[in-house]
């Protein structure tokens, strides 16, 4: 019903700047798809192309199997929630919700029931006669979603909808959005630069960088098996440690200032090949310093409550280890570390691609 299909989509601006460089992926009906990437990676442009707010330079956008490249935004059967909510400031909440329906000449009683229903779902009942300026950030956010709901579209588009809210409200609204999408069973495409939001909300995660798709998959697939160094360091917090090293015989990678890591995938590479080793902070385990294959000097520790982050140098390169609350390592200590071979990722330093 509400599937979205992008094929080889490109966007080149008048100045020659290429914002989207050939993007293809499918979003199945009812899926929550999150586009994530650093600012300027083209994710918002991509969303706006799906909405019809940006023209398509080449390639196709299809909604529900129908190519919509030249279809007006109003006729694409989509609804969009904007970063700044884009509520009409001179209209009451009720009129904000009803505006799109009135423009579509929906019968009055129908408008009233739909507005009432949206207000009930979002808990906006008492706010219907207020103006947007009289609402808090979270309430405005709800009105923006209500404006999307009343239309009953095939696809919801979200453009960084939570970035203007404070941290606590953001977590709360995140849960509400997910619950809403589930209960309505509607397809959603959601843009964010926040990887926690991306991981928690998505059924399907699309990681973008510099106008290209780096990887598409479920959050857990991408976390467990990042296909590029970019994805590896972008998804996960704190980010994955990347260490440069060289391959030695027997599936061993040697780090420049001592230290060796066993990586099964390195066995297939010729000795002396330069590689990059990726280790997530939570996959490195504390060992006694004596006789450990990896040794790190602790520069300082960050206390996060349940866990501690030890920042230091390993083989002359920056390294972060996530340890337990009871860990006693202090600034200046030398600690030993070990890593399960299966938890080590290997990347080509030239292309950044994963080596399996």
């Amino acid at each position: 019903m509400g599937s979205v299909t992008l094929s080889n989509l490109r966007k080149v601006y008048a100045g020659g700047q290429e914002a989207v460089r050939g993007v293809s992926f499918d979003v199945a009906d009812g899926t929550f798809c999150v586009l994530v990437g650093p600012s300027g990676c083209g994710k918002s442009t991509l969303l706006r192309m799906i909405a019809g707010l940006e023209t398509v330079s080449s390639g196709t956008v299809a909604i529900d199997g129908r190519t919509v490249n030249d279809v007006e935004p109003a006729d694409r059967d989509i609804a969009m929630v904007f970063q700044n909510y884009a509520l009409y400031p001179h209209m009451r909440v009720r009129d904000n919700l009803a505006y799109g329906l009135r423009n579509r000449k929906t019968p009055k009683p129908e408008i009233e029931t739909r507005v009432a229903e949206a207000a009930r779902i979002l808990g906006l009942g008492e706010m219907l006669d207020r103006y947007p300026r009289q609402l808090s950030g979270g309430q405005r956010q709800r009105v923006a979603m209500g404006r999307a709901i009343v239309r009953k579209p095939q696809v919801f588009l979200f453009d960084e909808p939570l970035s203007n809210l404070d941290a606590k409200l953001r977590v709360q609204m995140r849960v509400e959005i997910k619950r809403l999408q589930r209960s309505l069973g509607v397809t959603a495409v959601y843009v964010t630069h926040d990887q926690v939001e991306a991981m928690t909300l998505s059924d399907q995660l699309v990681v973008m960088s510099a106008g290209r798709v780096e990887q598409v998959g479920t959050a857990i697939e991408i976390y467990r098996r990042p296909m590029t160094r970019f994805v590896a360091t972008f998804i996960g917090s704190p980010p994955m440690n990347i260490l440069a090293g060289t391959v030695e015989p027997g599936g061993i990678v040697a780090l420049p200032e001592g230290g060796r890591v066993t990586v099964p995938a390195a066995a297939a590479l010729a000795p002396g090949t330069p590689v990059e080793v990726g280790i997530r902070p939570e996959e490195a385990t504390r060992r006694a310093a004596d006789g450990a294959s990896l040794r790190m000097r602790v520069d300082f520790a960050e206390e996060l409550g349940a866990t501690r982050l030890l920042h230091g140098k390993l083989g002359g390169q920056d390294f972060i280890v996530q340890t337990q609350l009871l860990d006693q390592a202090a600034d200046g200590d030398a600690i030993g570390l070990s890593v399960e071979p299966s938890a080590v990722h290997l990347f080509d330093p030239g292309t950044g691609h994963r080596i399996d």
Binding site: E72, P73, A74, M80, N84, A86, Y88, H90, Y99, R133
Partner: protein
């Protein structure tokens, strides 16, 4: 953090610093205004030898004078015509420039130029273009079958001064409307287009309501301009004629006072104008600070 206040020790320095501005205000504004109020209660004899206090008689005479009431009506029509036409054209140009993607700065700069022209010069320019015997536009009108001669036809004379006055004001309105349009978040219009509002509907239901504060401010400014800054326009073109047809209140003040030498009546008229401008300003401050504020 509150900015630190600099305080002066004595009162001499602050007074000295304020003196030039105060002097200008007192000499050119307060003094004549007070003089006008005083004179408006007096009557001078024909030879200027004797002045007597007559109370409100000058004002009563005004309301009984059909010429004054006619001038009042003319001024109302004139102000409304100037404000409406300058606002509509200014808004139209602003909307067009707002839509242009390339060269918008050039259009803006060119459209602001007329504001730099003094009202009297603007008037002479239009009087030349529409001159009954040599005006190029007159010839055009004649082709269209309109006999144009503002020296004879009172309505045409009024149209001429409306044109000359509004032309300049279009620039001013354009500038404010353009700034107003550019301050409307792009995403509002995008949301409206997803909400199935076409360009005209977007303008009517989103853009125009959001421009209301600007529009209201400009209405007041335009009316004040039409009431008080148009002496030069009338003086340089029609001289208030033919007959009484373009004698605006502000022109009549001058005519009755300096040509007719009826100082009492002229002063009473300027006091009426003073009251009008105070009222307009009060309305503006009151409303701009409240209501239309998003």
């Amino acid at each position: 953090m509150q900015a630190k206040r600099v305080t002066f020790g004595g009162t001499a320095l602050p007074l000295a610093l304020l003196a030039p501005q105060l002097a200008v205000t007192v000499v050119f504004f307060v003094w004549p205004a007070v003089q006008a109020v005083i004179t408006s209660f007096q009557r001078e004899d024909a030879f200027g030898l004797k002045t007597e206090f007559v109370g409100l008689e000058n004002f009563r005479d005004l309301w009984a004078d059909p010429l004054y009431l006619e001038s009042f009506g003319t001024t109302m029509i004139f102000s409304a015509a100037v404000a409406v036409s300058a606002l509509v054209v200014g808004l139209l140009l602003a909307v067009l420039v707002d839509r242009v993607s390339r060269g918008a700065e050039i259009y803006s700069a060119l459209l602001i130029w007329p504001y730099a022209v003094a009202p009297a010069l603007a008037a002479i320019l239009w009087a030349f273009l529409l001159n009954p015997s040599i005006g190029p536009l007159t010839r055009l009108l004649r082709v269209l079958g309109i006999a144009w001669n503002y020296n004879v036809d009172g309505t045409q004379a009024l149209i001429l001064i409306v044109f000359a006055s509004a032309w300049k004001q279009v620039s001013y309105n354009f500038l404010f409307f353009l700034a107003g349009l550019q301050s409307i978040p792009r995403s509002l219009l995008e949301a409206a287009s997803i909400d199935a509002a076409g360009p005209w509907r977007q303008f009517r239901t989103i853009v125009f309501p959001l421009l209301a504060p600007t529009t209201f401010f400009l209405i007041v400014v335009n009316v004040v301009y039409a009431f008080f800054d148009t002496f030069g326009v009338v003086h340089a073109t029609t001289g208030g004629g033919p007959g009484q047809s373009t004698t605006l209140l502000v022109y009549k003040v001058w005519k009755d006072g300096f040509i007719g030498l009826n100082l009492g009546s002229s002063s009473a008229q300027s006091v009426v104008l003073l009251v009008i401008v105070i009222a307009l300003t009060a309305v503006q401050f009151r409303f701009l600070e409240r209501r239309i504020n998003y």
